[in-house]
């Protein structure tokens, strides 16, 4: 989450004092924020060397792992909250990862680029794959190996027996609660196993 306000909106979903696991956290900014502002503790999981170093610099506990290999190192329900922000679209085994998130955490929070945001729809309608601020890549060089929409995730969550407790879009640093599938470039879901 490079967008500070977006990060704060997501941080607001995390109950104070939570034990948090942040998957694919980047530079550890969010956990450092949660630690400082919401008295949280926990770990971040990263694969990238530069991000591991950045987390170390922040004094955030970081475990260098490849998420594609699963979360076997973590026991069931061993965290209050598992965060999976802006990583789902990079993963090969998205559905398995989602189930793992729900296994390890009592609550899961995910965010990902919403492909159904209207500028994307306009560009696709015009016959081209969208290139936007949230999806800045050309179709041939994108690291996002899959694209999905706000509405798609609701279906996937249901299919996996996950209960969405809160959901909204983020656009321009603000929460979008009306027509998020159309009006927001980022989708955010908070869910549990019910």
């Amino acid at each position: 989450m490079s967008d500070r306000k977006g990060m704060e909106l997501i941080a607001d979903l995390v109950p104070p004092g939570s034990r948090v696991l942040d998957l694919g956290c980047g530079n550890g900014e969010l956990l450092a924020y949660l630690r400082e502002h919401r008295q949280c503790s926990g770990y971040v999981i990263e694969i990238d060397d530069a991000n591991v170093l950045a987390c170390t610099e922040r004094g955030v506990d970081v475990i260098q792992l490849n998420l594609e290999e699963g979360l076997a190192i973590f026991e069931d329900q061993s965290f209050d909250v598992v965060l999976q922000l802006d990583t789902l679209q990079h993963l090969r085994h998205t559905e398995r990862m989602l189930r793992e998130t729900a296994r390890v955490g009592r609550v899961g929070i995910v965010s990902f680029p919403n492909f159904a945001h209207w500028p994307n729809r306009v560009q696709v309608a015009a016959g081209r794959m969208p290139v936007t601020r949230v999806l800045p890549y050309q179709w041939y060089d994108t690291p996002n190996i899959r694209v999905g929409t706000f509405a798609d995730f609701e279906v996937l969550a249901r299919k996996n027996g996950l209960h969405v407790r809160e959901s909204f879009g983020i656009q321009g640093g603000r929460a979008v609660r009306r027509f998020p599938n159309l009006l927001a470039s980022v989708a955010v879901f908070k869910f549990d196993r019910g």
Binding site: V52, T56, L65, E75
Partner: protein, 377 residues
């Protein structure tokens, strides 16, 4: 980044017997150690560096008049280096049973007035940690800022967190394992058999015969050395490079560069290392298994740990593989302890922990900087 410069080993004699895990005791022993940097007024900026199989208390710096005598972790320890001696007081200590000055099998057993030889008691990682703790008592250090070790040294660092949970703030364990695998014990056993079956070994009492089981030591070192390197790094360094221009069609002469290299390493090692020490230290490796006393549960073993942990492994290290470090990470996570883990994609195998890969040293540099801030060193 500089060197700590010329250093001098010191020694302390301990008259109080050291009870050993085996039930035996080491009566009356000496520990040789070196220190770098300055102990602060609060006496809380000390970092203990534990050595592995063939190293010693000589971690950093050089000896006066011996320009090639750099300590074994000189690339990590010194002013401005990742373990910065401008901020930390660093201690290297030679473990009992070793052959670099602390009481070991080459020295006189006060009970018999003969060299200990094969009678030197079997020492374990836990015994070493107890001996190190006594050294700290003498130096007036109640709590270490950190204990750092790689490989067998990493096992000592882990053991510190279990035996003296309140005497260290951070445990930094590199390229290590919660115990040795069968394959690892097998390599150690081959090395030991090479030494024990050398006719010059004389049941471990070769000092009395004026002999040295060099053949055994050479083979032990050769096999050890192979396991410290990765297949890729050996391929890159030696490949199938021949020693001569034409094939000799000899079964006994050196044909390949790798043979020449291993023989050289074996020869060099056999000149300075003690055979009984090799047996003792490989046994200490074999015996280390903190989970054993907890029904095989590493999670239960770490239940009493209090310090913060940093683990590092190297992807091409097949002797102490990343999977083994992840077992430790898991046990720490299960206990909700503070742990960070870096898995460095370095090509050099187990040896990587002694090299200065920038990602590896970057993580340690940052970690030690945080620790220094924590203790206001």
């Amino acid at each position: 980044m500089g060197s700590v410069g010329h250093v001098q080993p010191q020694s302390i004699h301990f008259a109080e017997p050291l009870p050993l895990k085996s039930g035996s005791t080491l009566r009356d022993y000496t520990l040789v150690y070196e220190t770098y940097g300055t102990l602060n007024a609060a006496r809380d900026n000390a970092v203990l560096v534990c050595h592995a199989l063939n190293a010693s208390h000589h971690v950093a710096g050089t000896y006066d008049g011996q320009p090639k005598s750099e300590g074994w972790w000189d690339n990590l320890v010194g002013p401005g280096k990742p373990l910065d001696t401008n901020r930390f007081f660093v201690i290297g200590v030679n473990n009992p049973g070793s052959c670099f000055g602390s009481t070991g099998p080459m020295q006189i057993d006060p009970a018999t007035d003969q060299p200990y030889g094969a009678h030197f008691p079997v020492v374990t990682v836990e015994d070493w940690v107890d001996a190190q703790a006594r050294l700290l008592d003498r130096l007036g250090i109640r709590q270490l800022a950190a204990v750092l070790g790689g490989s067998l040294g990493g096992m000592q660092a882990l053991s510190w967190s279990l035996r003296y949970p309140d005497r260290l703030r951070h445990c930094i364990a590199v390229a290590t394992a919660p115990n040795l695998s069968a394959q690892n014990i097998a390599f150690n056993e081959v090395a030991r058999r090479a030494i024990i079956t050398d006719p010059e070994f004389h049941g471990g009492h070769y000092y009395a015969y004026g002999t040295v089981p060099k053949r055994g030591l050479r083979v032990a070192r050769m096999i050890g050395h192979i396991t410290y390197l990765s297949d890729d790094s050996m391929e890159a360094k030696f490949g199938r490079t021949m020693k001569g221009a034409v094939l000799g069609y000899s079964t006994q002469d050196i044909e390949f560069e790798i043979e020449s290299y291993l023989r050289y390493q074996g020869d060099k090692f056999s000149e300075y290392f003690d055979a009984n020490t090799y047996l003792l230290i490989t046994r200490a490796l074999d015996y280390f298994d903190p989970a054993r006393e907890h029904g095989g549960s590493l999670t239960a073993a770490f239940a009493g740990a209090r310090c913060k942990f940093q683990l590092v492994s190297f992807t091409t290290d097949w002797r102490f593989s990343p999977a083994r470090s992840r077992e430790i990470v898991k046990a720490l996570l299960d206990n909700r302890l503070s742990v960070s883990y870096a898995e460095i994609d370095a090509p050099h195998g187990h040896d990587a922990f002694l090299l200065d890969d920038s990602r590896y040293h970057g993580v340690l540099r940052q970690r030690f900087a945080n620790i220094a801030d924590e203790v206001r060193a």
